[in-house]
């Protein structure tokens, strides 16, 4: 079975304004490295736009309608200190959710072994009723609930190695014993959440904060000692990766020192758990990563690992 690469040109039409780090060139850089010959066996598909009903799996209808109404016909609208909408943002957001859901459908029905969704805007900071940190809808969380509702999976886990804590996914999963959220992230850093003591109502949140300056060794220690054992014990039937590449040493928005191989290593370790508990079912959705070289090379290493290369 192939690895899917899911992306849509609508992602490029989402614009946060000049000079903003979450920019269309991020996706162009990833697409460019994935044109290399070793990625020829990827099956490349474009996702449909999600319908509003699907988004309400994690966000109240009023919130979705508010975002829809905020979308400008021209110019920019600011949703929070970091997050804006341009005329192309609404469709980009719907395609991003649609891509994560399509990835779940294809992987759960065994049409693909796994999938990488290269989309914008990212999602893991989006809380149920609050856009923030470049994020509008929480793709990873919606994909998890979609896997439960449409495919009848019981337990789904999100593993998030973006350098920022995924406060949105944590908030949405907090009281749901059928969903687990695991995260490595730099602390202190935006958004301020993600302490070890934040464990969810059912011990279903696993935070492993890293210190500024930490690199691959500390990342591996955190993943192996804190996250992977808990993940395996939870027994997820699908693992969704919130794949942010801003813990890379070149990234301008954080202070961790990861290199490309660290992301590949983590991807393989998470896949090992999926092989044991989830029949190998893994879906990866793009989150952050703001240095174009660090982002694109890390994403390439991540995808090679997904392809079991």
């Amino acid at each position: 079975m192939p690895t899917l690469l899911i992306s849509h040109p609508a992602s490029l039409a989402h614009n946060n304004g000049p000079g903003h780090p979450e920019r269309p060139d991020r996706l162009r850089a990833i697409e460019s490295v994935l044109e290399a010959e070793k990625f020829q066996t990827l099956v490349r598909v474009q996702p449909p736009a999600a319908d509003i009903e699907a988004i309400t799996l994690c966000h109240p209808r009023d919130y979705v309608e508010e975002v829809k109404e905020a979308a400008p016909k021209e110019g920019m609208v600011q949703l929070d200190a970091d997050t804006s909408m341009s005329p192309g943002s609404w469709e980009a957001a719907l395609r991003a959710v649609g891509g994560a859901m399509m990835a779940v459908d294809e992987v759960v029905t065994k049409k693909a072994s796994n999938a990488f969704v290269a989309h914008r805007p990212p999602g893991h900071h989006a809380e149920s009723v609050r856009p923030m940190g470049f994020c509008i809808f929480n793709q990873a969380a919606i994909a998890a609930r979609h896997a439960q509702r449409k495919h009848g999976l019981h337990r789904v886990a999100v593993v998030d190695f973006d350098v920022h804590h995924g406060n949105g996914t944590q908030e949405i999963f907090w009281s749901d014993p059928t969903l687990m959220y695991c995260s490595t992230h730099q602390m202190p850093l935006y958004p301020g959440t993600g302490a070890l003591s934040e464990r969810g109502d059912h011990d279903n949140i696993v935070n492993a904060p890293l210190r500024p300056g930490d690199g691959g060794a500390q990342f591996k220690e955190a993943l192996e000692s804190r996250i992977l054992p808990r993940l395996q014990a939870f027994g997820p039937e699908l693992i969704i990766m919130s794949a942010g590449f801003d813990a890379h040493q070149r990234d301008p928005l954080a202070n961790l020192q990861f290199v490309e191989d660290d992301f590949a290593w983590a991807t393989r370790k998470i896949m090992e758990v999926a092989d044991k508990t989830a029949e190998g079912r893994v879906v990866s959705v793009l989150e952050g990563g703001y240095d174009l070289q660090g982002l694109s090379l890390s994403a390439a290493a991540h995808v090679i690992a997904l392809m079991r290369g």
């Binding site: 903003h20 970091d82 202190p188 850093l189 935006y190 301020g192 954080a254 202070n255």
Partner: protein, 83 residues
């Protein structure tokens, strides 16, 4: 207003530096810093912490000199140059 390169930190008193550092820690913990500015604010906090540590080391060195010199006779009050 902070200078962009944080050069102003070298001129801050201990009280001013610790006050600003406490404000930064509170803002980071409460998530009140925009994502894009978060790392710059954290790095300013690190430099403020270093400034506070430097001033504390200087103060400790002065105290230490008085203690070490008090061998029966009163020690001089000349400050120790730790630089």
């Amino acid at each position: 207003m902070a200078e962009p390169n944080n050069a102003d930190i070298k001129k801050l008193t201990f009280e001013r530096a610790i006050e600003e550092l406490e404000t930064i820690v509170k803002r980071l913990e409460e998530g009140k810093v925009p994502l894009e500015e978060s790392v710059a604010i954290y790095e300013r906090g690190e430099q403020l912490k270093r400034r506070c540590e430097e001033l504390l080391r200087q103060a400790e060195a002065r105290v230490e000199k008085i203690t070490l010199d008090s061998s029966g006779k009163p020690a001089g009050t000349e400050p120790l140059d730790v630089n």
